[in-house]
Chain length 289, copies 2
């Protein structure tokens, strides 16, 4: 099962290096506790560990956990996922700072540039998700009781301000990606910045479409191409919740009526791009890079 | 009300510096949502912010939040306390890494040595709470159904191992404090290490007494004196949950029967030391330091 797998060996042709075995507990979906839930920190660490696994540096086991189950509560005494374990060291990391610290340490030990710093990138992507949440909350509040999200053109000025801020920032990231001309934010391989940004962009897409009548503007070709890179990155695909599980999470938090559409549907993952966007990507030759 | 206060001005006699206003949302008690709950990360950040407030560097507002309330869930979309806000910057920090990053930044800006590093101290205190939790879980499981915690002398070897590890580590910290001869772990003022360790030691004391029949060994005078320092440190006192709220938290997590003792009692805080320990502290002259 994809959500509960164990990756054993990889790379370094037969060397007998003792690789640390790392277990990551991620939040289960509220629909089905065997499925991955929409926890952004969980996905971020999962992607980082996956990158280390692909380089043959660690063994990784991921387990989805139902945070309301008594055995879970008892085992972790109130800690919330993500939770990371290393049984050999009898170590349990329940704080994001500790988890990141440990992954950082492993990456450093094996010279994997997963945590390279870039203040320009950092500045450009920071508070992006925060701004999206402000827009999301304001617009769903405004649309309360409506059957479908209202059109963006008709929203009142104070919500429009939130909307504009989100779009401006997306344009800023698009521009950055054009300047850099690289697959990922810092170059040809994934770093922690991508593990942060990719899941957030994807959530925005899924939630925007269904709850806001909003989409990433189609003219932001470099940004869309970056989203596509995510959809072609094993670390992202493997750790990505289904559309239904993402929607369910936000509806629960926003206290919106949860109809049976999501809960009964076969889970699907939207990992494709709109046709016109794909055309633009091809026209700019980004698909052949 | 102590749990919901606003600290306005302090220090820097009349200078017109624009101090950042920081709001910290901490988890409320499961008994009464107006009371502080037993969230260790919340207390850690609260202590750090309090230290910065005392130096006149920030203004701080602390609010207790009921994580199960719909308005809370909706405002923060699934994020859990601690949550930090800075309205002027429209910034919301929901990740411990972000919160610490921001506090670190403020401390650095004003040259407050709150985050000084000391690898020896770090090594000595790390995984201390983790080991305590292993002991706590094993012993409460063993004592299930009993009216009172069984005596430490009678526990089976595998639980004794956990117990021994905790006591050894406490002795190690006692030794470190003796070597250093300072009030706090790094010197005469509090650092993040104290904001981590003090609340954990206090939880251990309260929970140990009531659920485990365990106490910090009375011969560890330097460690006890450090606990006493906590009880005389405003940042600790102000941010410390009542005994009943601490107990309630652990009982809930361990799925133990919650009797009405805690829930109906007037909240109290055990911030005193056993008499024999106080005598030893006096004998060593630690109380006059």
């Amino acid at each position: 099962m994809a959500d509960d797998y164990q990756l054993q060996s990889n790379g370094h042709g037969g060397e007998l290096v003792k690789k640390p075995l790392v277990q990551l507990y991620v939040k289960a979906s509220g629909i089905d506790s065997r499925r991955i839930g929409a926890c952004l920190f969980c996905q971020e660490f999962w992607m980082e560990l996956f990158a280390l696994y692909e380089l043959g540096v660690v063994r990784v086991e991921v387990k989805t956990v139902n945070v309301n189950s008594e055995p879970f509560k008892k085992s972790f005494l109130g800690a919330q996922p993500p939770i990371m374990l290393e049984e050999e060291k009898q170590a349990q990391y329940t704080d994001n700072r500790e988890i990141e610290g440990r992954i950082f340490h492993i990456a450093k030990e094996f010279n994997v540039p997963l945590f390279e710093k870039d203040p320009v990138v950092e500045k450009r992507i920071e508070s992006f998700y925060r701004n999206f949440k402000l827009f999301l909350r304001a617009k769903t509040e405004h649309d309360k009781g409506k059957r479908e999200p209202s059109p963006i053109e008709s929203i009142p000025p104070q919500i429009k301000t939130h909307y504009n801020r989100v779009v401006e920032q997306l344009a800023g990231i698009d521009e950055l990606l054009q300047d850099r001309g690289s697959r990922y934010l810092l170059g040809d391989s994934m770093t922690e910045y991508d593990c942060e940004l990719m899941p957030r962009l994807h959530h925005m897409r899924i939630v925007g479409h269904r709850l806001l009548g909003f989409d990433i503007p189609h003219n932001l070709t470099y940004l869309w191409n970056y989203v596509l890179t995510g959809y072609r990155t094993a670390a992202f695909i493997e750790s990505c919740p289904a559309d239904q599980d993402i929607l369910h999470h936000y509806k629960e938090q926003l206290n919106l009526f949860t109809n049976q559409r999501e809960t009964l549907q076969e889970p699907t993952k939207t990992h494709t791009l709109p046709e016109d966007v794909l055309d633009s990507i091809r026209r700019l030759g980004l698909d052949t890079k």
